[in-house]
Symmetry: C2
Subunit: 212 residues, 2 copies
């Protein structure tokens, strides 16, 4: 699966979270890191989009909207005619927030939900007949502890590349990731054995249910 | 009440709906027509905002968001520090749509609601402690008949200037509007008489209820 990460951030070089994500994306096969820079080469942008299976829009919220470069890019690059080429691809958002998550609910400081605020992108997926993938939301990156960042790195890499979030898919991701590190080879084998064992148990349960 | 109409439209001179609204706004006392043009004079923009009692953001949707000049203006002009000066003012949106209204619901072509899509502005009002006024939504202006446009003109002028949409407020607006036209003076008087009569009936009903 080819992954295009479209990063909309006006000061990307000053952003510690984007630097973190960039390093994480480098380790993901077939992932292209693509920060938006004006002026756009419309032809080139469209080629990148057409080559991708999963398009990820990655941005912070400024006054509850994406930075203005993102709607500008959408208007210049995603013409209604061109959008037909995107049919069947996946669309996902990686959202970074300066505020804490609990502010985004009725009665709290912001008073609207993140689902509300992301609705333009859901609508975009709907009308382009793309498949909407539930977003990855990262709140207050700057305040994260080192263990939290390690966990986020894994979640981000899985978010970029995994087809779904089923237990089996995530287990297999770990087996593949561990096999790349010779010193963790034994761990990968143990994990694979456990996973095979779990799978045979799952089959046995299924057969027992079918017999009823 | 001072009204600031902030118009975000990349081709405002080609827009028949914006030309229509501009002509309508000219007839409204204390309304300032203010199309956004880059680069922004931040100081001037802030003075306009501070002088207003009601700030109206007026824009079409492009891929379900305001044209990029609006988030850009928000980011340059409405700093978090400045936003404290806007506390207590009213915030409203005039939205123009190329699509029909019924597309904006779950299961329809767009699949999200206009309340969802306007949520960034509701959140803006919430965090700036401004009063959110329910929006005026104008769908498919280009297809409107002449009587529909006449009706829209009245609704737009009332939307700009009225404190609320109570029956009495709207009646009084008509009386005031008709009095400006000498040839309609008699009509204004009749309307005023009827309204006075209605008011006395309303009082009588209220007194009867209080007696119970």
């Amino acid at each position: 699966m080819k992954i295009l990460i479209v990063v909309a951030h006006p000061k990307i070089d000053d952003s510690s979270s984007q630097a973190f994500f960039k390093a994480g994306a480098k380790l993901v096969e077939n992932a292209t890191w693509h920060p938006l820079v004006e002026p756009f080469d419309v032809r080139e942008e469209r080629e990148l989009l057409m080559a991708a299976d999963r398009v990820i829009l990655q941005f912070p919220l400024y006054w509850y909207q994406a930075p203005s470069i993102l709607p500008k890019w959408l208007n210049e690059v995603w013409s209604v005619d061109f959008a037909s080429h995107l049919k069947g691809k996946q669309l996902a958002v990686v959202l970074t927030l300066g505020r804490q998550l609990q502010d985004y609910q009725p009665g709290a400081a912001v008073g609207v939900t993140l689902s509300d605020l992301l609705s333009p992108y859901v609508a975009l997926a709907n009308t382009c007949e793309m498949t909407w993938v539930p977003p990855l939301v990262v709140a207050q990156f700057a305040r994260m502890t080192e263990p939290q960042r390690q966990s986020l790195l894994i979640r981000y890499q899985q978010f970029l590349s995994l087809a779904d979030t089923h237990f089996q898919t995530i287990s297999q991701w770990w087996v593949d990731a561990l096999r790349k590190h010779p010193e963790a080879g034994q761990l990968a084998e143990t994990l694979q054995e456990r996973q095979d064992h779990l799978e045979s148990l799952r089959q046995a349960v299924k057969e027992a249910q079918d017999d009823e």
